[in-house]
């Protein structure tokens, strides 16, 4: 059956279309060229010039895995069991951890209702990948995928400290992608999670790891080279050292040079853009960071914008979260060392607009957004749930598109923070084309989803239809229609059909000989068999709802 979207005002940066009114034809879940007149059109939606974009893609959102599930548990004072016979009896309030860390069903529903059709879990602990996939498998409506964490696992650190050749490292990285069914590689506080287990409390970029005697810079070199050489699309996803520390912008700038010009993505860069100026020794270094992104073409970044309210932060960076636990609100936290593989830290935060640091964090994120020139290299994230829940994206989009709205919000901030930000001098307002770039075309290109994030012939028919409105928050909060793989799944902001999406992976070829040494490591030191570490396609598909889409890349 062919579905026709008539008179669509298409905003599709991947195909250089900015408001072109055209018809879109869909068959078998794909966008097709205009069919012959003899072919029957089954369903017609006359859009009368409504805005049409590809489904949005969240390239960094903590939606599944051990630390997210701990985060779901962590605010019982705000929770009440939802009465399923009265589905609306429990409405999540701003302080409810369901709001910050929704259950898997709500995660899928809230995403699709906003016109998002894919989300990527950016911190899959390799040893915990099975759980991450179970949770993503229980997340309806959207496509999923993950980035596997390396760079603090003892197997990799042993390889590096023993001067293993790059080929061995490449094979291990590729093996990890296969074993964990992921599409990218992430490093969190390179070397730092491991160093914390040896009682270190900070790990600087050029400081030797106290046990392995290698530097985070060396870890970044080896991993960025491996990711590049095995030929996956997604650049190394880097959560820099010194997250949240005043003065950390220098680490961030130095990190940009650590890959010797190879592509790297610096994630939630807002948390890594802090200076030490002013009475409070905490200032914005957004200008320095944005300037460096503008001039370093091999660098991409997502922002990790904070928005005010209660959330629960969940990070692999147990070293820095152990420090952050001092400012937890409510005062509690979960810190874990995990399986000689990684760690995690889960800390509730309440970001307040009258708090100097929080207010400045808010401004710093927006300064970065508005000061990076190229929307293909800066991505719209809140590091869900760490800066704010993903459900606040429409609000964030309005802040970017509406200077008056933004400045009104700025005027309500802590006054000392206002004095330390140049936000009001930034006149830029994002266009719909730029928003479509940073939420559709650019993430698809970055991750290597060739048939997503655009509306060209052959693309998967993940499509969002909006009514253009002056209030961009209202516009992006409630699309008129959302199609997932060609099926109409949302109408007037309500889900009308439940679908399950797929799991995207990248599985580059590699020398399976590397497994001999990995198996020996498991047998000598681990508490599970190597074969049980690996996840099969069948296990992803388990209940027949999900399936793996592997992307041949490079």
């Amino acid at each position: 059956m062919i579905t026709l979207l008539k008179n669509a005002k298409v905003i599709d940066p991947a195909n250089h279309k900015d408001g072109v009114v055209q018809d879109i034809y869909i068959r078998d879940g794909r966008i097709i060229a205009k069919p012959a007149d003899s072919e029957k059109i089954g369903q017609v939606h006359d859009l009368n010039g409504k805005i049409v974009m590809a489904g949005a893609i969240d390239m960094h959102s903590h939606i599944g895995g051990g630390k997210v599930n701990i985060a779901r548990m962590l605010l019982p004072e705000y929770q009440a069991m939802r009465r399923l016979e009265e589905p609306e009896a429990h409405i999540c309030g701003a302080n409810c951890s369901h709001h910050a860390t929704p259950n898997t069903t709500d995660t899928g529903m809230r995403y699709i209702e906003m016109g998002y059709t894919a989300a990527f879990e950016p911190a899959v602990l390799a040893v915990n990948a099975r759980q991450a996939h179970m949770e993503m498998g229980d997340t309806p409506m959207i496509d999923k995928g993950g980035y596997a964490m390396l760079g603090n696992d003892d197997y990799f650190l042993r390889l590096l400290s023993q001067n293993a050749d790059q080929k061995t490292i490449n094979d291990y990285v590729a093996w990890t992608l296969h074993a964990t069914q992921t599409i990218g590689i992430k490093v969190v506080n390179p070397g730092g999670i491991s160093a914390f287990k040896f009682n270190e409390r900070r790990q600087d970029l050029d400081q030797q790891h106290s046990h392995y005697h290698i530097t985070p810079r060396r870890i970044l070199q080896a991993l960025s080279r491996a990711v590049n050489e095995i030929g996956i699309a997604k650049p190394l996803h880097v959560h820099c050292n010194n997250l949240g520390v005043a003065g950390n912008f220098q680490t961030t700038l130095d990190t940009m040079g650590a890959s010797d010009g190879l592509p790297m993505h610096l994630t939630h860069i807002q948390f890594h853009s802090y200076g030490t100026e002013g009475d409070k020794k905490f200032s914005s270094a957004a200008a320095n960071i944005a300037e460096a992104i503008n001039s370093n073409k091999h660098i991409t970044a997502d922002v990790g914008q904070i928005l005010f309210g209660q959330t629960v932060t969940a990070s692999g960076d147990n070293m820095m979260q152990h420090l952050n636990a001092k400012v937890a609100n409510p005062k509690k936290s979960v810190i874990m060392d995990i399986e000689c593989d990684a760690g995690c830290g889960v800390v509730p935060f309440k970001y307040r607009d009258q708090n100097y640091v929080n207010a400045l964090q808010w401004a710093i994120g927006l300064e970065v957004f508005l000061s990076v020139d190229d929307p293909w290299r800066v991505f719209l994230t809140t590091d869900h749930p760490n800066g704010a829940p993903f459900t606040s994206y429409p609000h964030l989009i309005r802040l970017l598109m509406d200077k008056t709205f933004r400045n009104d919000a700025f005027d309500k901030l802590n006054l000392d923070a206002q004095a330390m930000s140049n936000l009001k001098s930034l006149d830029r307002e994002y266009s719909l084309y730029e928003i479509a770039t940073m939420t559709r075309s650019a993430p698809a290109k970055l991750i290597g989803l060739q048939d997503r994030g655009h509306l060209g012939v052959g693309a998967a028919a993940d499509i969002t239809v909006y009514t253009e409105q002056a209030d961009k928050e209202a516009m992006f909060a409630k699309p008129d229609l959302v199609f997932k793989d060609g099926e109409l799944v949302v109408k007037e902001g309500k889900v009308v059909k439940v679908v399950w999406g797929a799991t995207h992976t990248a599985k580059p070829t590699f020398d399976l000989g590397v497994e001999k040494d990995i198996k020996q490591y498991f047998d000598r030191y681990h508490t599970m068999q190597m074969n049980n570490f690996k996840i099969s396609n069948d296990q992803i598909a388990e209940d027949g709802r999900n399936h793996v889409i592997n992307h041949v890349q490079g």
Partner: protein, 402 residues
């Protein structure tokens, strides 16, 4: 990549999930663990469904189960002794029928959850302990009563990356009738045992925490334990490279034991100000971690304790505990469980289902929470899975509605 077929099975008889069980060991019934031996010796064939104690077809039993659920105003899903897949099915059944859901280990699970949810904690996992722990403090437990092979698989191992396993210091603090023999090192070094009855652990652990925090303690003994002994223990923990404080919530079975657990975990928090230490919660059985976790990601909240008196029907799942039955009084009981269930009185409906790891495949969380292992059918049978039976009951309920 070729995924090699693993000939080893992971054993779900306890929360340790030892995944080195060979088909050969199962065939010969040779195990170093009594729980595994008992699990793999189970006979699950030749049992048909029953309605009111009489043999019935699967279709008849499904109809009877659906009818009982339809009549109930407030059903309860309980026992819930299953794996992740079973947990998903039970959560769905509870949603469809408006039932509450609990687990056979809810009371011990909730002791831990109260601490996690209201205070947080700092914990580690088995491979970290295996490779790093130089001091292991067992509080109120021998662990081996729950996880037989703990010392074999985690403590007295041949090799570790960052410590000398045979030199580890094992200390038992309190507990009742502990088996401390497994704490003897391979070269015959006896563990230190600081004896006190479980019921005195609240005050003993509180003093230990105070000493670790350098608070003044004026008493010279607490519950018969010399404070000087606890001072030495505090110093040992502070000097350790990676002290591991182990507890089993089931063994802390007195009122408000969560406060003892909190004192354990807050001792860890205090130690981590200057040195490294971590907590380790052991024990676990009947898929308790899997069910609580899956319930959390599917519903957004943890499992709850049962309030038996307020329910008028029970769906009872006992796949890993065939002898377990709900307390008498709440009727009717629909057992979707172990084929080798032992009934004192026949339940209203009994549908034998496949046990993950024995009759069918599955997935189970290990007790330390970060690792999930695939369960493989050690002795495959054609029994329906819990997921399949729940789907049949749901279809029947929907059909009845239509």
């Amino acid at each position: 990549m070729t995924i090699q077929q693993d000939s080893m099975h992971a054993c779900p008889a306890c929360g340790l999930l030892c995944d080195d069980i060979s088909a050969d060991a199962i065939a010969r019934q040779q195990f170093s663990c009594g729980k595994a031996a008992k699990f793999y010796a189970r006979v699950t064939t030749g049992v048909s469904p029953q309605v009111a104690g009489q043999p019935a077809s699967l279709a008849e039993a499904v109809r009877a189960a659906a009818a009982a659920l339809k009549q109930a105003a407030a059903p309860l899903v309980a026992g819930s002794s299953t794996d992740v897949h079973g947990a998903r099915a039970l959560v769905r059944l509870a949603q469809h029928t408006g039932a509450a859901m609990t687990h056979i280990n809810a009371s011990s699970t909730l002791r831990n959850m109260k601490v996690l949810q209201h205070r947080g904690w700092q914990t580690t996992t088995l491979t970290e302990v295996r490779n790093r722990a130089d001091v292991i403090l067992m509080i109120g437990t021998d662990v081996v009563s729950h996880n037989t092979r703990f010392f074999e698989r985690v403590v007295w191992v041949d090799e570790a990356m960052f410590t000398e396993p045979a030199a580890r210091q094992i200390i038992y603090l309190g507990g009742d009738q502990l088996n401390t023999q497994p704490g003897v090192s391979p070269d015959g070094r006896a563990p230190e045992v600081i004896a006190c009855a479980s019921e005195h652990l609240p005050e003993v652990v509180a003093i230990l925490r105070a000493l670790v925090m350098d608070k003044p303690v004026t008493a010279t003994t607490v519950a018969g334990v010399a404070v000087s002994t606890l001072k030495t223990l505090a110093a040992t923990l502070k000097a350790a490279k990676y002290a591991t404080l182990v507890w089993v919530s089931k063994d802390l079975h007195y009122d408000h034991a969560e406060l003892t657990i909190e004192n354990i975990t807050e001792t860890v928090v205090a130690l981590n100000q200057k040195s490294r230490a971590m907590g380790l919660s052991m024990g676990g059985s009947d898929g308790d971690t899997s069910v609580n976790y899956a319930h959390t990601w599917l519903n957004g909240v943890i499992i709850d304790a049962p309030a038996w008196e307020s329910h008028d029907a029970v769906v009872w799942v006992n796949s890993y505990s065939p002898q377990a039955m709900p307390p008498a009084g709440t009727q009717p009981v629909i057992v979707l469980g172990a084929p080798d269930s032992i009934f004192e009185s026949a339940p209203a409906v009994f549908i034998p289902v496949a046990t993950p790891g024995l009759d069918c495949n599955g997935q189970q969380f290990r007790v330390d929470g970060s690792v999930t292992l695939p369960l493989t059918a050690a002795k495959p049978t054609d029994l329906p899975t819990l997921t399949q039976v729940v789907a049949l009951i749901e279809a029947q309920l929907q059909g009845d509605l239509a």
